[in-house]
């Protein structure tokens, strides 16, 4: 009889994997992902070509020199606002009209435009004028060597972060990279639990609405059928992840070769860096290498193992819930009442994860990564920031305990629900089902 679960797993897996939509999505997704990164970059370079004209009318002529042309805007001085500036055939984007000394009257500047003034133009103009006004006000105090002082004051800081590893040695870390890695895993868990949990629900509902389920349960125990579905769908998810992983690695490999950053050069560059020879290393490469070392310093083994553990636990918990919902309802429309709270909890988990990044050991991060319904999502953000082992173990214990409970309850509801047709059951009725023999 145990064999039957395998047969179900096999069918659930094969029917999904052999679907054209699955094959297409699996193959295209990494490219879509790559495109999502590349296309906006590409589009922003296109936008740079179109330099727009902004007319500056400066009664004081004092501020004109502060406006420097950049890729987006060309600033043209003009003695006064002309009618052609406002005609509908004008190629003038906007007119900056400065009517007086801004250090005395801060409101003596206006921007005119036929369109809504773009945010970056507004902020550029504001910054430029602010800076100039500040300089003017400072020079009004008549301090000696003022230019030098200002230049001196305006140096920018660069704080680099260094992490002590277990042996107390220094290793370069990068908070940004750690956050990014945590979020990547968090989103993957969120996406997979939602979409594959939904798939389990679809599959259960399909059998119920097709009325094949009565035939099925005359051959196989409802629990085996449910678990077969849950496991079969999870396998599809793993295969998809695996393919994406391999493809992404391949695409990245090809890209890095294309950009002349092959592994050998990297290692060499790192070697020279370690030797302290900074000589002719271009600044860009140095930054790249910092990112790379920070990447390499992430706890990959821990991340990988924890990802699998939280993925399986979280999926088991939510998928069994979805299976019970699919078994209880008769039509897709009825599902929202049960799905809404789950989505809310998941979205709460996502937000908790985002805020946890700011304080990875704070109370929100701690409790949200213990609570089993959010822990798979939140914990993944914390792991790059070194979570104490006892917290990980406690969180996993709670997660798997709750998942087992959910599977048990769902199996009971599923067993009765799949054979119930007619009206939508109330929560009270579903609780009654738990007691059925």
């Amino acid at each position: 009889m145990k064999n039957n679960t395998l047969i179900v797993i096999q069918r659930e897996f094969m029917t999904r994997v052999s679907k054209k939509s699955f094959v297409l999505l699996t193959i295209l997704m990494p490219f879509i992902f790559a495109a999502l990164i590349v296309v906006p970059l590409w589009l922003s370079t296109i936008k740079d070509d179109a330099q727009r004209t902004v007319v500056v009318v400066d009664r004081t002529t004092h501020y004109l020199s502060a406006f420097k042309d950049d890729k987006s805007y060309r600033f043209v001085p003009a003695p006064a606002m002309l009618p052609e500036h406002r005609s509908d055939t004008t190629d003038v984007e906007a007119v900056v009209n400065i009517e007086g000394d801004l250090s005395k009257d801060p409101k003596a500047v206006k921007i005119y435009s036929r369109k809504e003034v773009s945010a970056d133009l507004l902020s550029y103009v504001t910054n430029v004028l602010n800076e100039q006004v500040r300089r003017d006000k400072l020079s009004a105090y008549d301090v000696q060597g003022l230019d030098k002082i200002i230049e001196d004051v305006q140096s920018t800081l660069e704080v680099s972060t260094v992490k002590w590893n277990d042996e107390g040695e220094e290793s370069s870390s990068n908070t940004g990279i750690a956050i990014a890695a945590g979020f990547l895993f968090t989103f993957m868990i969120y996406m997979f639990v939602m979409s594959y949990g939904g798939m389990v629900m679809q599959s259960v509902m399909e059998e119920k609405t097709n009325r094949i389920v009565e035939l099925m349960v005359s051959s196989i125990k409802p629990f085996q059928l449910m678990m077969g579905k849950i496991v079969g769908v999870a396998m599809v998810g793993f295969v998809q992840l695996l393919i994406w992983g391999v493809m992404l690695a391949a695409i990245l490999g090809i890209c890095s070769v294309a950009f002349g950053l092959d592994a050998g050069a990297m290692a060499e560059a790192q070697g020279t860096m370690a030797a302290g020879a900074q000589g002719n290393m271009p600044a860009m490469d140095a930054a790249d290498n910092e990112v790379l070392t920070a990447l390499l310093n992430l706890p990959f083994a821990e991340l990988g193992i924890m990802f699998v553990l939280y993925f399986v636990g979280g999926y088991l918990l939510y998928a069994s819930f979805f299976a019970a919902v699919g078994a209880s309802i008769n039509a897709q429309e009825d599902s929202s009442q049960f799905i809404m709270p789950v989505v809310l909890i998941m979205v709460f988990g996502l937000y908790a994860a985002m805020y946890s990044v700011e304080n990875t050991d704070g109370p929100l991060a701690f409790w949200a990564s213990m609570f089993p319904l959010t822990s798979p999502i939140v914990m993944m953000v914390r792991i790059p920031f070194d979570v104490p082992l006892w917290q990980e173990l406690l969180s996993l214990g709670l997660l798997y305990g709750t998942a087992t409970l959910f599977v048990w309850i769902s199996a009971k509801i599923y067993r009765v629900g799949i054979l119930m047709y007619g009206k939508k059951p109330s929560l009270r009725e579903m609780l009654k089902w738990l007691r059925y023999k």
Partner: protein, 304 residues
């Protein structure tokens, strides 16, 4: 209790749900190699009983004996079930899902394929193998479902309302297949409201009404039990009409085309032969028959 002639027996089955009792101390015995009719109005508890026999649900109390032993989980592979609610995977190819369902009943892949090919050829639906189920007509789907039910050659077959949705031609085909299965030694449980088909093919029956067995036994015996003592008599005209005697009462009398039709009620303690002998003295008999109640009438009588 261990009667080898009894293939399946359910004794003192009780099944309660939150609001009502679906089965209240129900016992049935299904003889080996016979067709057993399970009758009853809607909501009487037939489906619950069938689900218990399929091990889909468990009874609150009572026991089931299957082929001489205590009912065990592995026995479901020896049952073929055609549910009243028919359904298969709409998007799955016909052959593929038949093989899948057969494997769940314990057949190997190769064996399932082989047997399916034989059945498909027999029903002349081989071209449908690679079609999706939703592309088939309703009648075709019914045929596929029937094949799936019997494919693993289970000793016990359960048909729940098998004729519903079949056109007369296919219903006849199905009837012949069921009789053929009986001839091959399968035991069949047959649940229906269609009383005519019970008289046609069932050997034994049980009528369930309001969660209890209202009537059970051999179909002929049950009919015997419900004899009403009514007889139809046709005799040549001309003679004086019959009147009530000690042996019989005349319930109705009509005369048409020179023939007289009577409906008589026989007095108790008189055999059919004695009645015929008596009537033969008084009139020229053309036709004489006892009016046995139809299953339909018995059903209504028991249910009301």
């Amino acid at each position: 209790m261990n009667n080898p002639d009894i293939f399946l027996s359910a004794s003192h089955i009780v099944k309660r749900y939150a609001e009502h009792t679906a089965l209240n101390d129900v016992s049935i015995e299904v003889p080996r190699g016979k067709i057993f009719g399970l009758l009853g109005p809607n909501g009487a508890g037939k489906t619950t009983l069938i689900r218990i026999i399929n091990r889909i649900t468990a009874p609150d109390s009572g026991s089931v004996m299957f082929d001489g032993h205590e009912f065990a989980p592995s026995d479901v592979a020896r049952i073929g079930y055609l549910p009243e609610e028919r359904g298969l995977y709409k998007k799955m190819k016909v052959g593929e899902q038949a093989v899948y369902l057969a494997r769940l009943k314990g057949l190997s892949k190769q064996e399932a394929k082989q047997r399916l090919q034989q059945w498909f050829e027999r029903f002349d639906i081989m071209p449908w193998w690679d079609k999706k189920l939703e592309e088939l007509s309703k009648g075709m789907q019914q045929k596929v479902q029937f094949i799936i039910t019997v494919l693993h050659e289970p000793p016990l077959l359960i048909f729940d309302e098998p004729f519903s949705g079949f056109d007369p031609v296919n219903a006849e085909l199905l009837k012949q297949e069921i009789l053929e299965l009986k001839r091959k030694g399968h035991t069949v449980i047959f649940s229906t409201h269609n009383m005519a088909s019970v008289e046609d093919i069932c050997d034994e029956m049980a009528l369930i009404n309001r969660s209890q067995v209202a009537l059970s036994g051999n179909v002929a015996e049950v009919k015997e039990r419900f004899r009403t003592g009514k007889y139809e008599l046709v005799c040549t005209g001309g003679a004086a009409p019959l009147t009530d005697t000690e042996a019989y009462r005349v319930l109705s009398h009509t005369e048409a085309d020179g023939v007289q039709h009577y409906l008589l009620h026989k007095a108790d303690g008189l055999t059919n032969s004695e009645l015929v002998a008596l009537l033969a003295q008084q009139t020229e008999i053309r036709h004489f028959s006892e009016q046995l109640p139809s299953m339909h009438e018995i059903f209504l009588k028991c249910v009301q």
